[in-house]
C-alpha cells in the first residue's frame, strides 16, 4: 500500500473535524484498542485509506456510507512479521486470496526459498507478483542464500546484494540469519551479510534454535534480535529478557510457554507468526488466524493475542502506519463476532470492504511468471544406478557402519544416529534394512554434486522425490528401492519441479510446482488438493509424522538440528560441518 498522499491526508483532517463527510462510518463496534489494551464501544470514522477519528457510540458523524457493526469486535488487520509465502506453494495473488478473508492484511515475507533458486530475480518476481493486491506484502532481504556454505544453491547473495536489497522500498528487514555458526565464529558470508545490515541499522530477523547462554548473547550482540524457532518456556523467557522479539509459531504454542511469554511481553516483544503454512493447511485450518485461535485457546488473553498479531509485529517491522485503529493510521480493519473463535465477518483494506464471511470480494490481478522462472530444474533425471552406494575400503561382503538421520514423528529435527548395513559385492545392500536411502542432487545447473545419507523413520516402502527441499531446493530423492527412487525423480524433473510419491511403477500422489521448482502458478485450492493427495500417498508408503511433507522438505536444511543432508553430503548441524557417510571404526 503506498503512503496516502497529502491530499488524502488533508481530507481526513477535514473529516476528523466534521468539516467534510466521512467516506465510511463503522457504527456499533467494540473497538479493540491495541495501544491501551482496552475494549470499548465506538464508531470508526474513515476517510480514504485512513482512519480519521474514533468517536463514541452516540456521537453524530456524517458519512457517505454507514456499516452497522452490530456489536462486533473491530480489530486492526492482522500483520504477519515472519513467513515464507513459498511455503504455501502459490504466488502472492493466490496467497492473498487465501489469507485476506482470514483478516491478514500485511505480511513481511522472507522470499529466501525462491532466492535460493533464482537469486535477486526471484525476489523481484515476488515483489512484482505482489502488486495491486488487497494485502500489503513487504519483504525481507534473504540473508542466507545459501543457508550455509555446506550446500549448493541456485544463487549466492552476499553483502553487495544485501546493500542493494535493503535500499528497495519493499524490503523492511534482513531475513532470518540461519547460519548461526557463521555468526558465532564471525566467519563466512552470513557474518559479512549481517555486519552490512547492522551497519545500515536494519531490522534483523533471527533463527536461533536452542541457542542459549553465551551463544544466544553473542548472536544477539552480533545484531540479530528476533527468533521464531521452537522454544520451551525457559528459552522463551531468556529471549524476551535478552531483547529478542519472540515470534511464536504453531509448533511453539503451549500453555506454559504462552504464560511465560505473556508475563514478560511488556514491550511489544511478543508476536505470533506463521513461518511456513502448507497450502492444504492454509485452506482447511487457516493462517495467522489459526495461530491466533490456537494461542487464545491455550489461555493467552485475547487482547494480548490481538496485540501479538497487530501492533507488536507492525512495530517490530517499523510499520508505524498500522497495528492499531487510531486517527491517521491505515483503515485496515477486521470485524469479528468472537475474539476467541476468531472468524472475520467483514474485512476492510484501507477503508475498502474486501472480504465478507470468508470470501474475497475483489478481483485479483492475473500475474504470469516470466519464462526463466519456469525452467529452473537443470539436472538430468537420475537413473537407478545413482542410488547404488559403493563401499570402497571395506570387504566386498560384510557390514559397514553409516550415519543415520533419525526422524521423530513429532518434530522436524532429526537425531544423529548410526546403523550397520550389509555389504554385497562392494555395495551397500541398504534395501534389505529398514532404512531409506536419501540423495540430494544439485539441480541448478551448477556443480552437479550429489550427497547421500540414510534415514530412519521415514518411508516403509516406495519412494519420494521433491525439488521443494529447504533451503537450496535441490532434488531430494528418498526411498526404499533404486527403481522407485528413479521413477519419482523422473516425474519431478520432467515437470520442471514438484513432488512425487511412488510405489512400484505407480505415482500415488504428486504436486506440480513449476515456478522455480517450488511454487505453483495455480489457485491455492488446486495445490491444496494435490498436496492432500501427496500426503495420503506418504501414509500409504508408511510415513507417519505430525508434519510429513515439511519433515521431508527440511531433511536437506543444514541449519535444522541435528543431522541433515545436502548435495555436499551429511551435515552435523551443531558442529556446522560436513561429516562422512561412513562411520570410522
Amino acid at each position: 500500500m503506498p503512503q496516502p498522499n497529502t491530499k488524502t491526508r488533508h481530507r481526513a483532517v477535514e473529516v476528523a473535524q466534521g468539516r467534510a463527510p466521512a467516506d465510511l462510518l463503522l457504527t456499533n463496534v467494540r473497538l479493540v484498542n491495541t495501544l491501551t489494551a482496552e475494549i470499548y464501544p465506538a464508531q470508526i470514522v474513515i476517510a480514504g485509506e485512513l482512519v480519521a477519528a474514533v468517536v463514541g457510540p452516540n456521537e453524530r458523524a456524517s458519512a457517505r456510507e454507514v456499516v452497522d457493526g452490530s456489536g462486533a469486535y473491530a480489530l486492526p488487520g492482522l500483520v504477519d512479521s515472519h513467513l515464507h509465502i513459498e511455503s504455501s506453494m502459490v504466488l502472492p495473488p493466490a496467497f492473498a486470496e487465501a489469507v485476506v478473508p482470514r483478516g491478514v492484511l500485511t505480511v513481511v515475507a522472507d522470499p529466501h526459498e525462491i532466492a535460493n533458486v533464482m537469486g535477486l530475480p526471484g525476489v523481484r518476481l515476488m515483489i512484482e507478483a505482489a502488486r495491486n493486491l488487497p494485502l500489503d506484502v513487504y519483504f525481507q532481504a534473504p540473508s542466507c542464500v545459501p543457508a550455509t556454505a555446506l550446500e549448493t544453491a541456485g544463487a549466492e547473495i552476499g553483502p553487495g546484494e544485501i546493500r542493494a536489497l535493503l535500499s528497495w522500498d519493499e524490503i523492511l528487514a534482513l531475513g532470518e540469519v540461519m547460519d548461526f555458526n557463521a555468526v558465532l565464529s564471525q566467519e563466512g558470508r552470513a557474518a559479512d551479510v549481517l555486519a552490512e545490515a547492522v551497519r545500515r541499522g536494519a531490522v534483523v530477523e533471527g533463527h536461533a534454535p536452542n541457542l542459549t547462554g553465551g551463544d544466544l548473547a553473542a548472536y544477539v550482540t552480533a545484531g540479530v534480535n528476533s527468533d521464531h524457532t521452537f522454544v520451551t518456556p525457559p528459552l522463551a523467557a531468556e529471549r524476551l529478557r535478552s531483547g529478542v522479539t519472540l515470534q511464536l509459531q504453531l509448533k511453539s504454542l503451549a500453555p506454559e510457554t504462552l504464560r511465560e511469554a505473556a508475563a514478560r511481553a511488556r514491550s511489544l516483544n511478543l508476536c505470533l507468526v506463521t513461518d511456513d503454512v502448507m497450502p492444504d493447511d492454509l485452506v482447511t485450518t487457516g493462517h495467522l488466524d489459526h495461530v491466533f485461535r490456537t494461542a487464545v485457546g491455550m489461555g493467552l488473553d485475547p487482547v494480548e493475542a490481538v496485540r501479538a498479531v497487530t501492533l507488536a509485529p507492525a512495530r517490530r517491522m517499523r510499520l508505524f502506519d498500522r497495528g492499531a485503529i487510531a486517527p491517521g493510521l491505515l483503515a485496515h480493519i477486521v470485524l469479528t463476532r468472537d475474539l476467541r473463535d476468531f472468524r472475520p465477518e467483514l474485512v476492510f483494506y484501507g477503508g475498502r470492504l474486501v472480504a465478507r464471511e470468508g470470501e474475497l470480494l475483489t478481483p485479483l490481478p492475473d500475474y504470469r511468471p516470466p519464462q526463466e522462472a519456469l525452467r529452473t530444474v537443470r539436472v538430468p533425471a537420475p537413473g537407478p544406478e545413482r542410488f547404488r552406494i559403493p563401499t570402497p575400503g571395506t570387504p566386498a561382503n560384510g557390514t559397514a557402519a553409516v550415519r543415520v538421520m533419525a526422524m521423530r514423528s513429532d518434530s522436524t529435527y532429526t537425531g544423529a544416529d548410526t546403523a550397520r548395513i550389509p555389504v554385497r559385492g562392494g555395495y551397500l545392500d541398504w534395501s534389505s534394512t529398514d532404512l531409506c536411502l536419501a540423495a540430494v542432487f544439485e539441480r541448478h545447473g551448477r556443480a552437479g554434486a550429489v550427497g547421500y545419507g540414510f534415514v530412519r523413520g521415514a518411508l516403509q516402502r516406495g519412494a519420494v522425490a521433491m525439488t521443494w527441499a529447504h533451503d537450496s531446493h535441490n532434488l531430494l530423492v528418498c526411498g526404499r528401492t533404486p527403481e522407485e527412487m528413479a521413477l519419482a525423480a523422473r516425474w519431478v524433473v520432467e515437470r520442471g519441479g514438484g513432488m512425487a510419491a511412488v510405489r512400484g511403477a505407480e505415482v500415488l500422489g504428486s504436486v506440480r510446482l513449476p515456478v522455480a521448482g517450488i511454487v505453483s502458478d495455480r489457485p491455492v485450492r488446486e495445490v491444496a488438493r494435490e498436496l492432500a493427495g501427496f500426503r495420503r500417498a506418504l501414509l500409504t508408503l508408511g510415513f507417519e509424522h505430525r508434519s510429513p511433507v515439511m519433515a521431508l522438505g527440511v531433511l536437506t536444511l543444514p541449519v535444522s538440528p541435528a543431522l541433515k543432508l545436502t548435495d555436499r553430503g551429511l551435515v552435523d548441524v551443531n558442529a556446522g560441518a560436513i561429516v562422512p557417510l561412513f562411520v570410522e571404526e
Copy 2:
C-alpha cells in the same frame, strides 16, 4: 555516540561467548529489565561501548576490570525525548556537566529557541557544541520558526529547510508542531512543514494544549503523535487511546493522571520528559531524575517509571540501540541504591565510568561559540517615550477599555480579560492602575515592529526586560513605569541579551545571556546563581508565581493560551489571530 564499529561488535561477540575477557564486569547488581518489566540479580558483561551479555549472579566471567555493584539497581541511562537545552540557558557542554551525573545519557533536543534567533546556523551551533560529550545529544528539526505567523522571529524555517534538516544524522524528528491552528486549517507554513515531514516518514513531536475530540483526531491524523503539554486525566486517556505518545512533564504530574496513564501505557506510549528546566532548578532539584522521583513519589510503579525514562523514549525516537540493558545495546548504565529516591551512584556512558555520586569524572571539551552568535540583539535601547500609549479616537481625558492578559499564579496560561484605564492628555495613564504595560520589540534587525499589551497579576512595582522570551525571543519589557522599563531594556540591550529586573534606578537582579540573547557561555552554576538573584528581584517587585521567569518568558508565546503578546500585537491564541489593544465599545 557514533555506531560501534564492526570491530568493536565482533569483539563483543567473542566476549559474549567467553572467548575473550570483558573490558568491564558489573557484578552484584539488581538488573531493572525494561523489556520484561522485571528486576533480578545479575552481572553485566561489557565489551567496548556495548553490553555483550547479562549473566546470572554466580556465573564465572573473566574481565579486565570488575566493579562490584554491592546490590545496587542497574538501569539503562535515562533518555529525555522532549526538551529544549536553551531553557537551561547554557550550552550543551555545561548542560552535560549538570545532567550526566543525574543519569541522563541521551537527549533529543528541539533547538527551536536558538533557531528562532539564528535559523539553521543556530541548529548547527548546538550540534557542534554537543560533540564529544559523555551525553548523546540528538536533535529535532524545529517545525515552528516562528511559532506562528503572528510574530517576527530572527529566521523562518520552511519545508525546504526541514527537508535539509531531516537528512542530517543528528536529527531524529520534526520538533513540536506548535501552530495547531495551522494544522487544523491546513494552511500556512506549519502545515506545509508538517506535510513534508510526514511524506518523509519522520517522527513528529506535538504540542496540543487542551485539544480534544475531533480537533485532537484531526491533529493526529495530520501526522503528529506525541504531546507534552499539560494534561488532565481524561486528556491523558484520550491521547493514549488515539495513538499519541504521552510525554508527561513536571506540571502534568498528579497521582490521578499517573494512574490513568499507567493503566493505559501498554505500548511504550508513556514517557516522562523535562521540556524546559531552568538553570537554578537544574542545579538544585535536578532534571529528568527529578521528574522520575516526583512521578514515583506520586505512586507510579518504579519499574514503569524507569521504562518511561528509558525504553519508551528511546523507542519513540527510534533509537533501537538503547533503553534497556541487553546484549548488543550500548552500555549506558546507571547504578542507584534506591529506585524511589533515585540518586545515581555510578554512571557508565558506553561502558566508561563518567560520574560518581553526583560528580562528573571526565573533562569536557571547551566550546567557544562563533562571533555572530554573540551579536544578535539588533535593536536600539527603547527610551521611556516608547512606553507611552496614545489613545487616538477617544477623548483626550476620560477612560479607554483595553484587553488584559490576566496572569494566574499557578499556570503559564493567561486569561483574556479587559480593563478600563484613565486617559490623560490623549495618553493612557496606565501607571495609575494596578496593571503593568508590556511591550515586545522585534530585536532581530528586521521590521522593527513593536506590540503593546497590559498585564494583570505581574509586577506590583519596577520593571523587567528580557530577550529570553518564547519563541521569537524578541525584547520583552514589562513594568509599572516608563522610566524603569527603559532602564531594564537598556541593561539587556547593552549586554547583548539577558534579563534584568529594575526598581527605581537600580538593577536588582540580572542574567547575562550573550549567546543568541538566550543562552550563557558560562557554567550552569554561575547562571543558576544569577537566575536565583533575578527571581529574588521579581519577588521584591511583588511578582509571586509558581514559575515567575517562565510565566514572563511565555507571555510572548502565541501558542500558549489564551491572550499573549508579540511584536505584532496581542494574540487571541484560540482564534489564532491578532486582536486590537483597545476593545471596541
